[in-house]
């Protein structure tokens, strides 16, 4: 740029004013609006043309459909898809939840809190016990998590939920499948309690459970783990649904009551609403010091989260 300027000065002689006079603000806004209007006009015209030509609709680019390919997601057009699908079926036949999914036992769930829970967390636990069938909640007092696990195994519980809190706000959830693992730790956020009207609609019926959008190998394990907390045979008379939906590694928990009016489904939210985020999945029972992790994010988030289009569930 500099040499050009020098040439200009020598040819043009007197120096031009460096800045042109500033346009008034109103004029600028008007111009902007005009541009916008033109742009919208062009867009509208293009849309009309596209519709008229009969081309297939374009798919918008979202983070979900441009996510980085994961090796543990099975696609039907893979080379060794059949072998892998077979292996996956064999794996699920022999893992820790195989007994549950072949109807061999009915889950019995124990819900506890941190050592001295405050009101809000107790309330949260109470609502969870109402949703999860065949569940009991206790205060574990000064018993450690490991002691609680041993006691729960001796009493024949099949799952254990421990809710942690911070400043009167539930913020963590440990889910242990008994008697021999695995253990998962979720970060719990955005807990919204059901209001009075919603609490009135709670019934004792066993809800239906839906886990959606878990695609990877890890995701499938987590979905199986979350599903195994609830009873297998739902009572359809109650018309309750518990949904655990995975989106961008966040698991959304929703509780609805449904109704069919003129063959159209209508949903009514019952609550609570909360979001789970997997922090680690551990092999075996809870053992933060010596335990082996199947997948861990704590301490190495920056190494794992290399891109915002990379998801693990």
């Amino acid at each position: 740029m500099e040499p050009e300027n020098e040439v200009d000065e020598s040819q043009a002689g007197p120096e031009l004013p460096k800045l042109a006079r500033k346009k008034p603000k109103g004029l600028l806004r008007q111009e902007k609006l005009k541009d916008l209007k033109n742009k919208k006009k062009i867009q509208k015209r293009d849309r009309k043309l596209r519709k008229a030509s009969g081309d297939p609709k374009q798919v918008p680019r979202t983070i979900e459909n441009t996510r980085e390919p994961d090796s543990t997601v099975l696609h039907s057009d893979d080379e060794d898809y059949d072998q892998k699908a077979q292996d996956l079926a064999a794996e699920f036949e022999h893992d820790e939840f195989a007994d549950y999914y072949s109807h061999l036992y009915k889950p019995k769930v124990l819900i506890t809190y941190k050592a001295k829970p405050l009101r809000k967390v107790r309330e949260f636990g109470k609502i969870l016990t109402e949703i999860v069938p065949n569940s009991v909640r206790i205060f574990r007092r000064d018993a450690s998590v490991k002691e609680t696990i041993q006691a729960a195994i001796n009493k024949g519980y099949t799952d254990l939920i421990i809710i942690n809190e911070d400043r009167n706000e539930p913020n963590g959830l440990i889910l242990v499948h008994l008697p021999d693992g695995p253990t998962a730790y979720f970060r719990l956020s955005n807990v919204i309690f059901p209001n009075k009207r919603q609490r009135k609609e709670f019934t004792d019926h066993r809800p239906e459970v839906i886990t959606t959008n878990f695609t990877t190998g890890l995701g499938k394990t987590v979905a199986r783990m979350l599903g195994a907390v609830f009873h297998q045979d739902a009572e359809f008379k109650g018309r309750h649904v518990v949904t655990m939906h995975n989106q961008r590694d966040y698991i959304f928990f929703r509780h609805h009551r449904y109704k069919f009016l003129k063959n159209k489904p209508y949903l009514r939210e019952l609550g609570p609403k909360f979001t789970l985020r997997l922090q680690y999945l551990q092999e075996g029972l809870y053992d933060p010091k010596c335990g082996e992790y199947r997948w861990i994010m704590t301490d190495k988030r920056h190494k794992i989260e290399t891109s915002r289009r990379r998801f693990f569930l």
Partner: protein, 309 residues
């Protein structure tokens, strides 16, 4: 020689797969379908391997892909490791017993040795008629096979500067060619013991923070001081016991789950580190550069890795 595979991977549901390394790809051959819970694998001879499952030891023939023999031990607890030495099968059980079973004469009652509670690891010394055991709060013991007596017992770790007791949880043991023992601990310590010296505490040790060590392997005919260990959080460290530094020489990254087993393998005339981890992947790292050469998803949960002897 029936080992046509470069390695064999054993899965927790009893599946066995042979692995061949070809043209930058892993090629799998199904050896056994899922049927039993697999705990451990070890080499029997040139064409057979030993599979241990709960309280059973099974001989698996690689040639015709069938089980050939079965041994059952009468102990309460699962087998944590088996190996064959001089026509004897030696199995460690996690209730603390070591069972010595003769292979041919089935009528002779098997010998039993008590190796302390919470046994978690049993390994043979390749060059001598000895074996080593260790476990939770059960430091390294080296036994003589003939007499059945303890030859060397390591002392539990030194208390820290506040004189508090430090935990001891042996996860794996290996031996160098000069018969020095390396012990990895679940609390993130690797110790080098010298059984010949009078010192029962470790001669040298390396530490890592926030992780534990699960698997351990000495370098094959490389050096008497170098070792690679796999951690519970998915790193593989390369340690050297020479010198003062206790930090790892090199780190092999890439895994997000606990490294169940590591081994060294020769591929394309270069030393490579092969590992299986609980996030269901096989990985191959270049040893000299430390870079990840290959990785593949193997669907099942791997437990054991056997490299062609």
């Amino acid at each position: 020689m029936d080992w046509t595979y470069d390695a064999i991977i054993g899965f927790s549901n009893g599946m066995l797969k042979g692995v061949e390394l070809k043209n930058n790809k892993f090629k799998y051959i199904n050896l056994l379908d899922a049927s039993l819970t697999l705990n451990n694998l070890s080499v029997y001879d040139e064409s057979k391997i030993i599979i241990s499952s709960k309280r059973k030891m099974l001989l698996f023939d690689l040639k015709n892909k069938k089980m050939s023999k079965k041994y059952i031990i009468r102990e309460s607890g699962n087998i944590i490791g088996v190996f064959k030495k001089n026509n004897v099968l030696i199995a460690g059980v996690n209730n603390g017993m070591v069972v010595v079973k003769p292979i041919k004469q089935s009528k002779i009652v098997s010998e039993k040795l008590s190796a302390g509670s919470h046994l978690s690891c049993i390994r043979e010394v390749l060059t001598l008629d000895k074996f080593a055991t260790g476990g939770n709060e059960n430091p390294l013991k080296i036994w003589d096979l003939e007499t059945g007596k303890v030859e060397f017992t390591a002392k539990s770790p030194k208390p820290d500067m506040l004189q508090l007791k430090l935990p001891c949880y042996v996860s794996d043991i290996q031996f160098f060619n000069n018969n020095k023992a390396v012990v990895s601990h679940r609390h993130g310590v690797v110790d080098l013991h010298d059984p010949l010296s009078s010192q029962r505490r470790p001669v040298a040790s390396c530490k890592a923070e926030n992780t534990g060590f699960v698997s351990l392997r000495t370098m094959p005919d490389y050096s008497d001081y170098e070792v690679i260990v796999g951690t519970t959080k998915g790193n593989i460290f390369h340690y050297d016991f020479r010198g003062k530094f206790t930090l790892p020489v090199k780190t092999f990254r890439g895994s997000t789950g606990s490294v169940k087993s590591v081994s060294c393998i020769n591929y394309l005339d270069q030393m490579h580190v092969m590992s299986i981890s609980l996030d269901c992947h096989v990985r191959l790292h270049n040893f000299s550069s430390g870079k990840l050469t290959m990785q593949d998803y193997i669907v099942g949960k791997p437990v054991a890795l056997l490299i062609k002897p």
